[in-house]
């Protein structure tokens, strides 16, 4: 999803914003961070706040050529450079080129502080400003200045210096990010609850350790003078740095279906029953019990796209990827090769520590990367059986469908429906479980795949329950699954 970089208009109170460049953050901040202000990034150990600081300077350097100063009160600069060496940044090069300066206040230099009388901490301010002037820095990152409270006893003096530093930096036209450690069990965002008081804005990072992985959340607590999106969003740290996942705004007015463009299943009778194929941009729910062939139908849909020269995406949450590959092979479709060629991409994630926003962005990234027009989402029911609440599942699906519709991408969503055999026509046509009913407002079409027992045989029946905006056959069809996939047979009569 591309963002237009618009001129940063001042908010109603006249505070200008600037693009931090940290992926996702500017969107959450609705245009960027406040210029010439101080923002506190607070969190417990390991949440990634120091990385955020480094990335703040890195993006300034990389995207805008803005020199930056990193002020460290805890770790030595060499340690810090080593810590970020694994990111795909040329961060150290900027340091070597003198565009990135470290102001080193780390305790490595004093064995013990011997005090003899009263003192002032003005050198902190003087050295930082000197570094800023030396390279013409526009961004300053200050890591764990709260360490001063551990090293010096004069709390009043430390507070004075924090205010002084904040004022001086703002006067110098600097935009500053600084970190504070949240002590375990404390409700304060910094030592003595002071830093959040000095800062113009506060961002809180939290981590939650799940079974398999960590889930990370970011919340903007305050931002004097500017608007921002409230609520908590998720973020991730990869070898590219931080990635924040703003909520995809649900704007149904921009998402529409083009009924003139139809995407074929490669099953002639089905395409005909759909009025020519699925309309571009339609979301289709395929619901059925185990073994009814939902996965097969999805594969056929993708295989048709492959045949048309397109790239396709399969979101594998129900059946594991190796199983999907095997099933495809059994039907004569060489998915393994398609994966190797980059024609077919799988998106997977753990159901135990499902991060809905991260999954959403994984899908978005993959679809964007390969330019997919066809996606199979297997399955919606696995989302419901995960840790997500029903509301969260719904929110996720709405965001996903809005995004895909805006692209004109079709999505087949599988739904495992555990209903029993139905015998009478009344049951067949109206028996949709409450779950599927709830989803029906989100999707544009529903295909039902069912078993029916008749004359000592079990038959498979397909019908199109709904297809928004398009003529479709109301008939019920018998179908078979064989090597070529699903084959529609004659109409079923009672």
């Amino acid at each position: 999803m591309t963002e237009k970089k618009k001129q940063q208009a001042p908010d109603r109170t006249g505070v200008e914003k600037f693009l931090s460049g940290i992926p996702g953050l500017d969107r959450v901040m609705e245009g960027g961070l406040p210029r010439c202000r101080t923002v506190l990034v607070s969190g417990e150990t390991g949440c990634g706040k120091t990385i955020l600081l480094h990335e703040f300077l890195y993006r300034g350097l990389h995207d805008h050529g803005e020199p930056g100063v990193f002020v460290t009160f805890e770790e030595h600069p060499d340690e810090m450079l080593a810590n970020v060496a694994n990111f795909k940044w040329d961060y150290e090069q900027y340091y070597r080129d003198g565009k990135l300066l470290f102001a080193d206040f780390s305790p490595s230099h004093d064995r013990e502080i011997e005090t003899a009388g009263s003192y002032e901490l003005d050198p902190v301010v003087a050295r930082i400003l000197s570094a800023v002037q030396k390279i013409g820095a526009k961004r300053v990152a200050i890591d764990n200045i709260g360490m001063l409270f551990s090293r010096f006893e004069d709390i009043g003096e430390i507070r004075r210096i924090l205010f002084l530093l904040s004022d001086r930096l703002k006067e110098a036209g600097i935009s500053t990010l600084f970190t504070a450690e949240i002590e375990e069990g404390s409700s304060q965002l910094s030592r003595h609850g002071f830093m959040e008081f000095v800062a113009d804005g506060v961002i809180v990072l939290r981590t939650h350790v799940g079974q398999n992985q960590m889930s990370r959340s970011l919340q903007v607590r305050k931002m004097r003078g500017i608007d921002y999106r409230t609520g908590t969003v998720e973020y991730d740290i990869s070898d590219k740095g931080m990635r924040i996942f703003p909520k995809i705004p649900v704007d149904l007015s921009v998402a529409s279906t083009d009924f003139h463009v139809r995407r074929s299943f490669g099953v002639p009778a089905l395409d005909e029953a759909l009025g020519g194929g699925i309309p571009q941009g339609h979301m289709l729910l395929v619901t059925g019990n185990t073994g009814t062939g939902k996965t097969t139908l999805g594969m056929q849909f993708l295989q048709q796209g492959i045949g048309d020269g397109e790239n396709v995406v399969w979101v594998a949450m129900e059946e594991p990827v190796p199983q999907v590959l095997k099933t495809a092979a059994a039907h004569g479709w060489d998915f393994e090769t398609l994966v190797r060629q980059g024609r077919l991409s799988f998106v997977t994630c753990s159901l135990l520590d499902l991060s809905p926003d991260r999954l959403l962005y994984q899908i978005v990234d993959t679809v964007e990367a390969v330019g997919a027009n066809r996606v199979v989402f297997d399955s919606v029911s696995s989302l419901e059986s995960s840790i997500m609440s029903k509301e969260r599942v719904r929110e996720f699906l709405i965001q996903l469908t809005v995004y895909l519709k805006t692209r004109g991408t079709n999505c087949i969503m599988n739904y495992l429906s555990a209903e029993s055999f139905q015998a009478s026509s009344g049951n067949l046509l109206s028996s949709m479980a409450t779950n599927e009913m709830r989803l029906s407002s989100i999707v544009d079409g529903i295909i039902m795949l069912r078993y029916v027992e008749r004359e000592q045989t079990v038959m498979k029946l397909l019908n199109i329950l709904k297809l928004r905006g398009s003529v479709h056959a109301k008939d019920i069809f018998r179908y078979e699954i064989d090597t070529g996939g699903i084959r529609l047979g004659e109409r079923f009569n009672f």
Partner: protein, 98 residues
């Protein structure tokens, strides 16, 4: 005068911030300490104003002022404060010299 022992000079750097009362007191106190510590000619005292020369302050990792650095003789020492307790500070310096 014993020839086998060459006394190394005392070398001090005193960092201060501006010309506040605290800074002036610190300079007075340190000068007194220096004079009473050794022969008047055997010490070097460099007074550096952090505001005038922040780069030197950076080089010596100065966080607070006044900071007194003893660079000679070893071991190096670093004391922070106005050093109003002259005798006390002097004792610390002499003690360490052993």
């Amino acid at each position: 005068m014993a020839k086998q022992q060459i006394m190394s000079k005392y070398r001090f750097k005193l960092y201060i911030t501006g010309s506040s009362r605290r800074s002036r007191h610190a300079v007075d106190n340190v000068e007194w300490i220096c004079k009473s510590l050794t022969d008047p000619h055997e010490y070097e005292l460099q007074v550096i104003d952090v505001l005038q020369d922040p780069r030197q302050a950076e080089a010596d990792n100065i966080i607070a002022t006044p900071t007194l650095l003893k660079t000679e003789p070893q071991p190096a020492q670093r004391i922070i404060g106005d050093m109003a307790d002259r005798e006390g500070v002097k004792a610390r310096l002499v003690y360490n010299e052993a």
